[in-house]
Amino acid sequence: DTAAVSYLLRLGDDALVASHRLAELVTRAPQLEEDVALSNISLDLLGQARLLLSYAGRLEEQLTGVLRTEDELAYLRDESQFVNCRLVEFPNTDFAHTVARQLLFSAYAVELYTALGGSTDGELAGIAAKAVKEAAYHRDHAARWTVRLGDGTGESARRMTRALEALWPYTAEVFASDGVARAVSGTGFGTDPAGLRPAWDAFLDGVLAEAGLQRPAVAPVAGLGGLGGRDGVHTEPFGYLLAEMQHLHRSHPGAQW
C-alpha cells in the first residue's frame, strides 16, 4: 500500500543521508581509529538504505507498475521528494555535532528496528533484524564519545553542549506521528515513532547523566506551517548535499555504472 511505500522511503532516506554525512568525514577524523569507525557506520547505514529503498521501489511497482531502483530513488529525486528527517541532514560542523547527530539518531534507530523486528512483513522484519545489531553498535559508539566529550575538557564539554542544543530541536520531528505512521502501525507493517520516544528519552537521560551534560532546554523547531523533512521540507544545507551526491549520476542520463 501507499503508506508502506512512504514509510520505507522515510527509513531509507534517513539511512542514506545519515550515511552520506559520515562518508564526508572519511580522511578527516580526529584519529585513524575513527576513520575506521565512522566509515564502518557509514557503510552499515548505506547497506540499510539500499535494502530499504530497493524494497520501497518494488512495493511501489506493485501499485504503479513502474519500478524505481535504489539508484533512481537516490539519484533522481529532487530535494522535495526526499522524506528523511532533518536531524540526519545536519553538517559535521565539528566532531561534537557528528557525535550528537549519531547519538540522537542511532538511539532512535535501536528502538525503531527493535520494534520492526516484529513487523508483520517478513522482508522488513528481516531487514530490521540485521539493522538492530548495527544500530546498537552505532549507538554505543556515539554514547561512548558523548561521555568522553562531556566528561573530557572544558572545551569538549562546551562543544558537546552546543551541538546537543543545535540538534535537539529537530528530534521532535523524528517521533512525530502522522497519517503514514498511523497507517503502517495499524497494519503492523511498521510502527508509530511516537511510541518509541519514552525508551529513547530514558536512554538519552542515562547517557547525558554519565556524561555530566544537561538535557537541552530548547523548543522544537517551529515555522513552515509545521511541515518538515517527512513532508519534503528540509534544511538549506541539504540541497548542497544532494548536488554533490547526484551530480555525476545526473550528468550521464541512462548510463550504467
Binding site: V26, T27, D35, R50, S156, H249, Q256, W257
Partner: protein
C-alpha cells in the same frame, strides 16, 4: 617520544651471528630478537612510509565516495577506503614493534620528514580514476608487496599477508569499474581512457628509480627485506597489465610497448624521471593538498584526542576514589 628507550642489545655477544644465521636461513626476525641498527632503521623507515601511504592514499579515493554514481559502487569504495585505514593501523602497529610510536611517525609525516608514495600526489579527476587506482595503482602495490609477505621481519611479513589479500580484492574491483565504463556510453569510455592515460606512467614510477640509481636497495636485499629489484618488479607489472588492458579494450599510452620474444617480456617506453623527481620534491599537483588535509584533520582533532585522554584520567581518578575506603 620513543616507546622503548633502550636500544642496547642483550649482553650476550653472539647475537650478530645468530641474526645473520637467521637471515641466511630465511627465518623470521621477531621484535624480541636482537637486530643491527641499520636493519631496524631501514625497516622503521620503510614500514612508516608504507603506513603513511595507506592513510594518504585514502584521500584520492575518498574524493569520490560522496559522488559515486551508484549506491553499490559507493558501498564498495567506502569499504575499500576503510580497508586502507585498517592497513594503516596494522602497519603503524608493526612499526611500533620496532620502538617508534605512531604519534612520532605521524609527526614526521606532518612535518614532511617522512615520505609517502608519490603516486598519491596525483588528483582523481573523474570516477574512472577510482577504477584506474584499483587496477593500476593497487596492481603495482601488490606487485611490490607480495614479495614482502616473505620479508625477514615477522610482524611486517604478517601484516603484508593480510594486506595483500585485501589489495587483490581491490584490484579486481577497480578492473570491474573500468570494464563497465569501457563498455558503457561514449562519454564513459572516454572517461576510462583518459584516466588510463593519466595514470599509466605514474604507476610505472611507483617501483622507484632504475636499479642503477636506487639508494636503499642493497641493504634491503642483503637483509631479506626486499627480494626483487625495482626494475624486476616494474617489468613484472608491465607484463601483467598489458593483457589486462587488452581485455578491457583500453589503450596504454606508450608507443614503445611491444612483446619482446627474446626477453620473454614486454618492452616499454622511457619513463620521464624528471617528472618523478619533481613530484618527489613536493611539486606534484597534490603534494600540498594531501599534506594539508592530513595536518588539518590532525589539528582539528586535537581537542577530541585531548578530551578522550582527560576523560580516561577522570575515570581512573574516580575509580581510585571509589576504591579508597
Amino acid at each position: 617520544m620513543t616507546i622503548t628507550e633502550d636500544t642496547q642489545h642483550t649482553g650476550d655477544g653472539g647475537w650478530r651471528e645468530r641474526f645473520d644465521a637467521m637471515i641466511a636461513a630465511d627465518e623470521r626476525i621477531e621484535p624480541r630478537d636482537d637486530m643491527p641498527d641499520d636493519y631496524r632503521d631501514t625497516l622503521v623507515r620503510q614500514i612508516a612510509q608504507h603506513a603513511h601511504s595507506e592513510i594518504i592514499g585514502m584521500q584520492p579515493e575518498a574524493n569520490w565516495i560522496t559522488r559515486a554514481p551508484s549506491l553499490k559502487r559507493k558501498a564498495v569504495l567506502l569499504a575499500k577506503v576503510q580497508d586502507e585505514a585498517g592497513h594503516g593501523l596494522y602497519l603503524y602497529s608493526a612499526a611500533e614493534t620496532l620502538g617508534t610510536s605512531r604519534a612520532e611517525m605521524l609527526d614526521l609525516l606532518h612535518e614532511g620528514r617522512q615520505k609517502y608514495s608519490s603516486i598519491f600526489n596525483y588528483p582523481t579527476l573523474t570516477w574512472a580514476d577510482v577504477g584506474v587506482i584499483g587496477w593500476l595503482v593497487d596492481g603495482a602495490a601488490i606487485t611490490n608487496q607480495v614479495p614482502l609477505c616473505r620479508c625477514s621481519y615477522g610482524p611486517y611479513a604478517r601484516a603484508m599477508v593480510r594486506i595483500c589479500k585485501e589489495e587483490s580484492f581491490h584490484q579486481r574491483q577497480g578492473f570491474e569499474i573500468l570494464h563497465v565504463l569501457a563498455r558503457g556510453t561514449p562519454a564513459q569510455r572516454e572517461m576510462a581512457q583518459d584516466a588510463v592515460n593519466r595514470w599509466y606512467w605514474p604507476s610505472l614510477m611507483m617501483f622507484g628509480p632504475p636499479d642503477a640509481e636506487s639508494a636503499h636497495s642493497d641493504t634491503s636485499m642483503a637483509y631479506g627485506i626486499k627480494r626483487f629489484s625495482n626494475d624486476e618488479l616494474r617489468q613484472k607489472f608491465v607484463d601483467m597489465i598489458v593483457p589486462q588492458a587488452e581485455a578491457l579494450g583500453l589503450t596504454l599510452p606508450d608507443a614503445d610497448l611491444v612483446w619482446n620474444e627474446r626477453r620473454g617480456h614486454y618492452d616499454f617506453g622511457e619513463i620521464d624521471w624528471s617528472e618523478f623527481k619533481q613530484v618527489l620534491k613536493g611539486n606534484g599537483p597534490c603534494n600540498r593538498q594531501r599534506l594539508e588535509r592530513r595536518r588539518a584533520a590532525h589539528a582539528d582533532g586535537a581537542w577530541v584526542r585531548e578530551a578522550a585522554r582527560a576523560h580516561a584520567a577522570n575515570r581512573a581518578a574516580r575509580t581510585r576514589e571509589e576504591a579508597t575506603p
